[in-house]
Each structure stands twice: as C-alpha cells, then as structure tokens.
Amino acid sequence: MQEDTVLTMRGICKSFPGVRALANVDFTLRRGTIHALMGENGAGKSTLIKVLTGVYPMDEGEIRIDGIDGTINIRSPQEAQNYGISTVYQEITLCPNLTVAENMFIGRTQKKSVDWKTMEKRAGELLENLGIPARPKQQLGSCSLAVQQMVAIARAVDTDCKVLILDEPTSSLDDNEVSMLFGLMRELKTRGVGIIFVTHFLEQVYEVSDYITVLRNGELVGEFTVKDLPQVQLVATMIGRDLDSLSSMKKGKASALPTDSSVYEAEGLSSTESRPFDFHIAKGEVNGFTGLLGSGRSESVRAIFGADPVTGGKVKMNGKNVKISKPLDAMKHGIGYLPEDRKRDGIIADLSVRENIILALQVIKGMTHPFSRAKAEAIADEYIRTLAIKTASSDTPIKSLSGGNQQKVILARWLLTHPQYLILDEPTRGIDVGTKTEIQKLVLQLAEEGMSITFISSEIEEMLRTCSRLIVMRDRNIVGELKDEELTQERVMHTIAGGGE
C-alpha cells in the first residue's frame, strides 16, 4: 500500500440474480482528496458504495484500509463505521425534533448515563472548528437543509473517520448552500479525510474534486485527474459514446409579444404562493423560467396549472377567456404539468407503471368511464416502448424503477393526455446523463410537432439548449426576458444577478 492511499479496492465483483452489478472494479482513494465516483444510473456506483459500507457482501475482491495490515472483510455498516468508513446519504437520516448536539451524539455514547453538558460543549467545539453555522442547543429541524446535511457530516467525521462517503449530498440544496457544503468538504480535505463524492451534477464535480473514477455497466472505465478530463469528455466516457452534438438541435421560434396565436396567455396571474405576473406562450414554442432556487419560478408554473389556489388574474387559451382554479381545470384545457419533486408530487409509489401512466387521462375522462384492463395495458406497453422505459412489465410498481425511468413514466402520463401546453419543472433533476439528453431531444421534437412547452431546469446549459425564450426571475418577480442572441450563459447570470434593468 502506498503512503498516501487510505483505501484500496481491488477486483471487486458482485452479482445479483441475473445481473452482473460489478465486474472486477478497482478503486483507490488518497488521503486528503475528494474523489468523484461517476456513472449513469445502473452503472454500479451505489453497489460499489454498498459493498464498501457492508450493506452487500462482495463475491470477489479485496479491500484494504490504511492502518490495518492485510485485507479487511466488511460485513455490516457497523463494521464499516469501526474501520473508519462513514456515509452521509442524500436523504437526511437524523431526527429533526432533537437538538443539533443530541443528533451528533445519539447512539454513540457507551455509558448508561448521558453527560449533556460535556456533549453540548464538544458539539459546540466541533461545529465551530468546521465552521458550521448551528448552535448545539438548536433544534435540528429549525436549521436549513444544508446545515442539517453538514451536521450529519460532522457526526460522521467525529467518529475517527478516514473515508467519508457523500451520496448525492447536494441534490436538495440551492447554490448558496452547495458552496457552504463545499467549504466544509475542503476543510475536511485539509484534515486528511478521503472523500468519495457521488453526484449527478457535473459542474459540482469540477468545482471540488481532485480525481474522477468512471463506471459503466458495472465495469471500471478509468480513473482520471480532473485536469485531464474535460466535462464533455466525461459525459462521453460515462455514456460510452460521443454525444450527439446537442448544439445541432433545432430550436423553435420565439414569440416576443402575446398574439392571437398564443396558446396560453395570462395577465396578472397570482396564486397564494406567487406574485402577479404576465405570461404567454405561442404554439410550438419552448420557453423557460429561470432564476435561483426560491426565486418563484416553480411557484409561477404552479399558478398556471392551478396547483396552488389561484387568487387573481385573467387567463386566455387560444384567445378565449377561461377559468383555471384547480389542476383538473387546467387538464381539461389541455395543460399538463410535470412537478418539480417527483417523489412527493409525481409518482403514486405503490401503484403499477400502467396505473401511473393512465392516471391523468383517466381523470380527464372521468370516474365513470374507466379504461378496460386490455386498453390500459395496450397504452402502457406503447409508451414503455416509445419512451424506452426500463421496467420488468407494466405491472411493476413504479417505486422499484430508477429515477430516470420514473420520470419517463410521469412524462408518458402527460403525453398520453395530448396536451397543447406542457409544463416541465425540473424534468432532468437527479437522473442520468443519457436520459437527460433523451428528454431534451423529446422536448424539441414535441415542440416541432406543435406542442407548447415551458421548461425549467437548474442547469442553465440545459435551458439554453432547449428554450428559445427565457423568463428570468428574482425574489419572486420577473426581472427580465431573454431571447435569440441574448441567450448566453453570461447574459442569463447577469440578469439573475441583477443587471436586468
């Protein structure tokens, strides 16, 4: 074992019935580095992490860790913990109703009685040391998600941690919070902790990581230093082929002014969650709302769909006045809405893929006109085929699909209703690069066929590729509108930052 390595995994193999999840994978983590583990969904990232943390036993291979002679055998998460391997998951697994200090020490005291004073003092020191803006006595639930995440990390590193695994830690954080988290990661790096960073956000990889290991179909593609692997190259490596030149995608035309041909037009529309705003979209147009998280972009599209109670404003569809006060009204007027939070608002987890696909159209048809089983199966099979949804059958519960495929099911649900106007709020969040590209292409293809689409994404790149007009929001107000040659990353950033006037 070399001096600076803290963890080596050699020739790791793991099979599940019918699937080779990991085939001969090597992984090396160096002391004081951040090492990104990349790959599409199903590439074997989570399996590798689960082998390392003792959730799955490996079939073959060896793991060595700094400070212990010979190979080690990790049989449970508890054992991984004892070897100095800690994990912080995407979903925060702490108790929001306890204090920060309690969360940091719960389940770790050996003694029967708890010395609250010392515990709080130690927690305070640790928080200050790591620069985490939280007080030990504060209730965890009152902290922001980022701080909760950081408390979870503080808890993990306090247990004499050599290897810290961060599994999608940034997926529910906004930019500010992400940079706070990155600050903490760099701090830990200087202390000699080796960090394994799993994420879907390519930009973030380049912001903090030193090394990148790419997996594909359970096999190791290679280990690279960040310098040697430009972003485009990384994407190509992950999906195993050169990206179809996305820049050659054709965009629809932008319509600057509301005209009679506007499919949808709103004047002073407001909901309980959004301030009054004007908006319009033409037939075949793709536009987007952009702005920081919390700028009101999601709230605006929710107001269009009637997802939050509408409080005022005039709405016209195809030139005629209509009233949209609840989702069903919007659906009946041919509007579809793919919500931002797939798990919370999109999927009906226990129901089958088939039931999830037909749901919206079934509701539009009405309760007394159910689809026959055969008809529903035919529809589901058709959309599973056309959108290439990976599922065992249409009878499989949607919750057992991967994130990208769940998103495709929700997309299928709305495409089935043949909307004139489709709102996609963060359709590409938390899904793999291949599916992201597929969804972007689909959006442009649908627009070409005459569908109007509003597209929201946290990744500005993605919006620039698909939208012909961007509406920029800040602090819950529309602060600018960009189109044609104005659509550059700098210009968007500038407008978001406050140069729009």
Binding site: F305, P327, P339, G346, I348, D350, E355, V363, T368
Partner: protein, 358 residues
C-alpha cells in the same frame, strides 16, 4: 408464457394467502376434531319450509354483518389511511331508524320496509358524511374523528326510539333476518352476495378503485392529477355509512327488535381486524376488498369453532386474541421478507441442481 402469467397471478394476490390459510387451517382442525362438523343438513323450520342447516351455514350466515362492514372499512382504510371505529354505533342508529319508520306506519308491507331501509340508508350516509368531513376537511385522524360517533352513537340510537326496545314482527322482517319462504339459503348470505356484486360492478364500471388508491398512497400527487382528494375520502365514508345501514337492518331483522345497547356491539374492532387479516395496509393505499371479506369469514369461523368446542363465551375473546396474534404476525412485513428470501434460496438451489443435472 403461461407459467409467468400464473406466477404473476400469485404474486398479485399473495395478500389473500394469510386469510385463506387461516380458513383452511380452521377447516382441517375442525374436520379432525369432528368429521361431521361441516355436514350440511336440511331441516324444516317453524314455518314449514325446508332450509339448510349446519355449522358451515351458521358461519356464512353469522358473518354477514361483519363482511358487509369490512367491505366499507376497506375503502375508508385505503382512502384515509385510518379506521372508522363508529361502525357499530352507526349500525345501531341505522337499525333504530329502520324500526322507528316501520313503527310509525300503519302496517308492515313490502313498500314500507323498502322506505324504512331507504330512510336508514340516508341517515347512515349523512352520519358517514359527518365522519368523512371531519377527516377530509379538517384533517382529523380518522380514529379520533370517529371516536365522537363511537361515544355518542348508541345514545342517539336510544333517543330515536324514546329509550324503548320496540319489537317488530312481520313475515317480511323475518324473511330478511332468516329465510325467504322457498329459498333454503339464509337471506343475510344472499344480501352479502348482492353487496359483493354491487361493489364489483362499482369497481368494474368506474375507476373509483384507482382514485381511492391514489389518494391513499399520495394525496398531493393525486390532487395534481386532478383528483378531488377531499371528495374521494368523503365518498369512502359515505359508502361505509351505507354498509352500516345494511348491517343494521340485518341485525334488527334477525331478532325482530332493536336493542341499541347490544346490537352489533364491538363489531368495529372485528371489522378493522378483517381488513388487516386480509393483507390490507392499515396505513392506506393499495387494497383488496376480497382479502377483507375472507378475513371476516376467518374471524367468524374462529368464533364458531370456539363455541363448538364449548369454550365459555367469556373466554372466547382470549382464545381469539391468541389466534389473531399469530395471523397478524404471519402477515407482517418482517415475516413476509423472511419467507420470500427463504423461497428465493430454495429456488436458486433447485436451479443450480437442475443445471448440474443438465
């Protein structure tokens, strides 16, 4: 191809396994204990009609009210993720209304019985609507919301008939409660079949099942798909109200009188239990009404078996509790996981053996 379809059928209906096994075990146990236990005979009743008789008949007959209530309870559980504990009290109210209307009329005829049934149905559905509004509009936990009617329901039933326990004697009433002349099958069994068909038609010709399950699994997402979640919850309570009315009418007709204190007493717990034994998640979501029905029959079979074994009626509850602990534990996720892992192991082992042989 055919094999995968059968295996899919089994995996889709695996939740029915527990109540089916329970019923099977009770049958085997009883046959060993007394080979004559399930013999069905024909006797002549006091009106001179030939009717079926035997333990099997009394299990099917006696379970009728429970089966009907557990049908409604399944819907409420699935939509609201909670249980209605006022069904016994509501059935008492419905029964009292039924008697009150009949007593108010000049003579008991087919029409007056029909009107009385309609009246008690409407009243029970209004009370169901009350329970449902507390749950759907005010977001009160179902068990707490229905605690109100559970507490005061039998008092309301008492007021309806001025504190008396009036009797009603009529051939029509006894036809509902026991036998229709010329038909050897007890009428309550026939009513259960009718209710079963009605619910089957409801699920066949509407998408209510999909709506209820969507609301029960993810209310927010259901709303964003245009489903009126409040309305669906309300509807499930109203349907349960109708079930209470039918159960109340059967209960009254069996005895020919209404005793608001004792009619269908403690049946709410058995109805909830039937839903649970039927493999339905008490936290709401996916449901199989057939499971609850089988669960209800299993509970009744157990009760009759215990009585047949001459267990004193005061002890029956204790014995029931033991059996129920076993059934509920068998249906728990922990046991299910262990079993599925075990069966996988056996399958993979037989798979390798097969390969070696080849």
């Amino acid at each position: 191809m055919k094999k995968t379809k059968t295996s899919q059928f089994f995996s889709n209906n695996s939740q029915l396994l527990i109540p089916l096994i329970a019923i099977l075990l009770l049958i085997v146990f009883n046959l060993i204990r007394d080979p004559e236990f399930f013999s069905v005979g024909i006797t002549t009743n006091n009106r001179g009609d030939a009717v079926l008789q035997g333990n099997l008949v009394s299990i099917l007959n006696g379970a009728s009210e429970l089966v009907i209530l557990s049908m409604g309870m399944t819907l409420v559980t699935a939509a609201s993720g909670g249980q209605d504990i006022s069904v016994g009290a509501l059935a008492a109210i419905a029964g009292s209304v039924f008697v009150k209307v009949l007593k108010g009329g000049p003579a008991i005829t087919g029409t007056s019985v029909f009107l009385a049934f309609l009246a008690c149905c409407v009243v029970a559905m209004i009370f169901g609507c009350f329970n449902g509004s507390l749950v759907a509009f005010f977001n009160i936990q179902p068990m707490i919301a229905t605690l109100i009617l559970f507490t005061c329901g039998r008092s309301i039933a008492y007021w309806i008939n001025g504190g008396a326990t009036p009797t009603i004697t009529s051939p029509i009433i006894s036809a509902i409660g026991s036998f229709i002349p010329g038909i050897p099958v007890p009428t309550p069994i026939l009513i259960v079949i009718v209710m079963g068909i009605l619910f089957a038609l409801l699920f066949r010709f509407t998408s209510l099942g999909l709506y209820i399950q969507s609301v029960g699994i993810n209310q927010g997402a259901a709303r964003l798909n245009g489903i009126n979640a409040v309305g669906i919850k309300l509807l499930s309570f109203i349907l349960l109200g109708a079930c209470c009315a039918v159960a109340g009418m059967i209960g009254v007709s069996r005895l020919g009188l209404i005793n608001h204190e004792t009619i269908l007493i403690n049946i709410e717990m058995d109805a909830i239990l039937a839903v649970a034994i039927g493999g339905n998640n008490l936290g709401g979501g996916k449901f199989k009404m057939l499971g609850s029905v089988l669960g209800a029959y299993a509970i009744q079979a157990l009760t009759i078996t215990l009585y047949a074994m001459k267990v004193p009626s005061t002890d029956v509850k204790a014995y029931k509790a033991v059996v129920i602990i076993i059934l509920v534990a068998l249906g728990s996720p922990v046991v299910k996981d262990t079993m599925s892992r075990f069966s996988k192991k056996i399958k993979s082992r037989s798979g390798t053996v097969g390969k070696e042989a080849a």
